[in-house]
């Protein structure tokens, strides 16, 4: 009895601790949907998972770097992060003058983001998971057909320097997740699995998944044109790239399944 109790206490302690130092997550209930580039035959099924409510902030990232100095700007390996890595920071441990602790961490490479999530016992979301969670608006799990939903995303393209805004300043969506739209782009684990060749007109007659999306950008399918930009930005990335407008958040498989 005693060892059992001790174990429970121990587990409880570890659990509360991890909740404290890890950002809040919410449950995303899985489902089936047709992504931008899909046809009926290409439905994607998402199993339940948990997602960070907010993107990783500068503060989170500062703490991460303290623990894992190999991700300091001065020490990072060039093959894991290009010269833009944390370029706006004053030093290895200080943010730039205009940067807020609560703004999303950007100028972070895929390698760094991937490692960050791993160190928290999480992972980066897949493109399909990210898109699945992000097709919700405030009230609907799939708002992609709504004019207001698309208008919101598109208006973000016109707003300069949103990467300086704090997390939580956009809307809370159906899943209780914030900032999927309107703040920064976000890394996904398989960002380069849907390739845009860079010559988007050529993609039209290539036998790849995405070309349908590109071809579908017509009068009836404005939703695609809002989403297409995300695929375009993902297609332009390499894993060592870091960008001012690109942050990340983590996910993990749902506990319920375990």
């Amino acid at each position: 009895m005693k060892p059992f109790l001790r174990l429970t206490i121990c587990i409880l302690f570890i659990w509360t601790n991890s909740v404290n130092c890890q950002s809040k997550m919410v449950e995303i209930k899985g489902g089936t949907y047709i992504p931008l580039y899909g046809r009926d035959s290409l439905k994607v099924t998402i199993t339940d998972f948990q997602m960070d409510v907010y993107p990783v902030t500068n503060q989170d990232y500062l703490e991460f770097i303290k623990k894992y100095p190999k991700w300091k700007r001065s020490q990072v390996k060039k093959i894991f992060a290009d010269d833009n890595y944390l370029i706006t920071w004053k030093s290895d441990s200080k943010l730039g003058a205009n940067q807020s602790l609560l703004a999303p961490a950007t100028n972070v490479s895929w390698f760094a983001a991937n490692d960050y999530c791993k160190c928290q016992g999480k992972r980066l979301p897949t493109v399909d998971e990210w898109e699945y969670a992000a097709m919700a608006d405030k009230t609907l799990p799939d708002a992609r057909k709504l004019k207001s939903y698309n208008a919101y995303i598109l208006s973000w393209y016109e707003k300069p320097k949103t990467f300086n805004n704090d997390i939580g300043t956009t809307f809370k969506n159906y899943w209780n997740v914030y900032d999927l739209h309107g703040l920064v782009w976000e890394w996904t684990s398989d960002f380069n699995s849907v390739m845009i060749s860079g010559e988007s007109r050529k993609d039209v007659d290539k036998d790849s998944n995405l070309f349908c999306g590109s071809a579908a950008i017509g009068a009836n399918d404005l939703m695609n044109y809002a989403a297409f930009m995300r695929y375009a930005i993902r297609g332009s990335l390499k894993a060592k790239y870091s960008m001012k407008n690109l942050g990340f958040r983590c996910v993990k498989d749902s506990n319920k399944k375990l």
Binding site: D82, N84, I87, N107, L154, S155, W156, Y157, E158, P160, K161, W185, I196, S197, G198, E199, S200, R201, K202, D203, S214, I217, G218, A219, L222, Y225, F228, M229, Y231, A232, I233, G235, S236, L237, K238, Y241, S242, M243, K244, N245
Partner: protein
């Protein structure tokens, strides 16, 4: 001694042979310079390309040899002014719409670096129509924000070419201003002219209608429907008017590099009051002469040249004319210098036209005086009604339906301090026309209004209409006032 002499002669023979071979090889070299294929032209030395923002054009290539030309182009997404009170988020090559002008010659080896500013949100690329190769460079230049890409190409065909962004959605990138011109001059360069300018038309699609204030977002649906809110030269309504007008002096030859970025509309490019002496049709090698209006396809260009013979303001338009007066496709070329009455006289004689007979007669003053008495007691309502009709026939094309005018081209009549300050001056302008700079509501206008061929009675009515509309001071202008002004001069 003899041996020495023999040695000397041998040496000289050797020298001669050497010299001969040298000359022979240099001859061969010379022959080689007449290349059959532009791809064979060798590029000597490196040079950094001079890039200019519109309406300026870099210096001509002249006689320079083909070179390795370094072009550094930066992509910047930034907010700019579309028209007074309306802004737009432009995506630009080099910070301007159209993008920087690139000037090369046949055989140049261009090393092109495309950098995407770190603050930008989107990836971009560039497709240069002057490039022979897949995608015109687009495949090799797809670049994420905060990064740069480099690629090389050789200019093979002389001509004026469009470049543009070709990242999905392509139409949107172009509609936001991502286009410009690259000129490939032939060997020896284009003939010298006095003035060269860079003009590019584009159509814009905004959420609000033309003139709606504030930052106007792009409207995909309107773009798909090809329902443009703005059709402009050089990216904004006033890019080529007022103080931004391009200039020349009488006797000079002007060359315009005119492109059309689209994304949708084809331009009927015309300069009011000029005839193009030469047009490089579609920017290619065919030269047409004596052209009034030249068609410039979306994604195409033309080089037009003309000598300016008389002074004045020449209006550049897309002769799909509603675009010019209602959507902004209007620019100005101001020409200074001596008048030449043989080429253009101005008004020489005015008369009344009577098809029943009599030919041209002078306006009989007595008659009008008589008519005046007979209709001078029209009510204000009657004058307003007739005035409105005259306005819609004679005035509205320039001053617009609500008297709002066209910024930088035609002054407003609505709430016009200039009108309200002096009735007699307004009467005189309608009677005799007006040329030169005036200030209306704090803005300068330098344009031409011709004298209006309407009777004194009609002038009284139309001015009364204007003074009693759109927040003006409600002056009731009488015909006798108009008569007085006319006779007073």
């Amino acid at each position: 001694m003899k041996a020495k002499q023999k040695q000397k002669s041998m040496l000289s023979t050797l020298l001669t042979i050497l010299l001969l071979t040298l000359t022979v090889t240099s001859c061969v070299d010379n022959e080689k310079k007449e290349y059959n294929d532009a791809a064979d032209i060798t590029a000597s030395r490196e040079m950094i390309a001079e890039l200019t923002s519109p309406p300026n054009v870099p210096r001509g290539v002249g006689k320079r040899k083909a070179k390795k030309l370094i072009v550094n182009m930066e992509i910047i997404e930034k907010e700019g002014t579309m028209t007074d009170g309306t802004t737009y988020m432009y995506w630009t090559f080099g910070g301007s719409v159209p993008g920087s002008f690139i000037r090369t010659r046949v055989g140049d080896e261009v090393e092109f670096t495309l950098s995407n500013h770190p603050d930008n949100k989107l990836p971009h690329n560039i497709d240069l129509h002057a490039v022979t190769g897949p995608g015109g460079g687009a495949t090799s230049s797809f670049v994420a924000p905060g990064h740069e890409k480099k690629f090389n190409f050789k200019t093979l065909n002389p001509g004026l070419y469009v470049y543009h962004c070709a990242t999905a959605p392509v139409g949107m990138h172009i509609a936001n201003g991502m286009y410009g011109l690259i000129l490939v001059e032939p060997h020896g360069g284009l003939p010298k002219v006095d003035k060269e300018y860079y003009i590019m038309q584009g159509d814009f699609y905004t959420k609000g209608e033309n003139g709606d204030p504030g930052l106007q977002p792009f409207d995909m649906q309107k773009a798909v429907d090809e329902d443009a809110d703005y059709v402009v030269f050089n990216g904004s309504v006033d890019a080529l008017t007022g103080d931004n007008a391009i200039t020349a002096n009488v006797g000079e030859t002007v060359r315009l590099f005119v492109g059309n970025g689209g994304p949708n509309l084809v331009s009927s490019f015309h300069v009011i009051g000029e005839i193009f002496d030469k047009v490089h049709v579609e920017g290619g090698s065919t030269i047409n002469e004596n052209v009034q209006t030249t068609l410039i396809p979306a994604g195409g260009a033309a080089i037009v040249e003309f000598r300016v013979d008389v002074p004045g303001t020449f209006i550049l338009v897309d002769h799909s004319i509603f675009r010019a007066f209602n959507k902004g496709a209007l620019g100005m070329l101001k020409v200074d210098g001596e008048e030449n009455k043989t080429i253009y006289s101005g008004v020489v004689q005015e008369g009344i036209y009577n098809p029943e007979g009599g030919g041209i007669q002078e306006m009989p003053i007595d008659d009008t005086a008589e008519v005046a008495t007979s209709i001078s007691n029209k009510s204000l309502a009657e004058k307003m009604e007739s005035g409105k009709q005259i306005y819609m026939k004679t005035c509205f094309a320039c001053h617009q339906v609500e008297g709002q005018g066209i910024p930088n081209a035609f002054p407003p009549l609505a709430k016009s301090d200039y009108m309200n300050a002096d009735v007699n001056r307004a009467i005189e302008i309608v009677l005799k026309g007006k040329t030169g700079e005036i200030t209306v509501n704090g803005k300068k206008y330098n344009s031409v209004m011709t004298r209006q061929a309407i009777s004194n009675d009609e002038i009284a009515d139309v001015l009364t209409y204007i003074y009693n509309s759109w927040g003006n001071n409600k002056t009731n202008v009488t015909k006798s006032q108009v008569d007085q002004v006319k006779d007073g001069h």
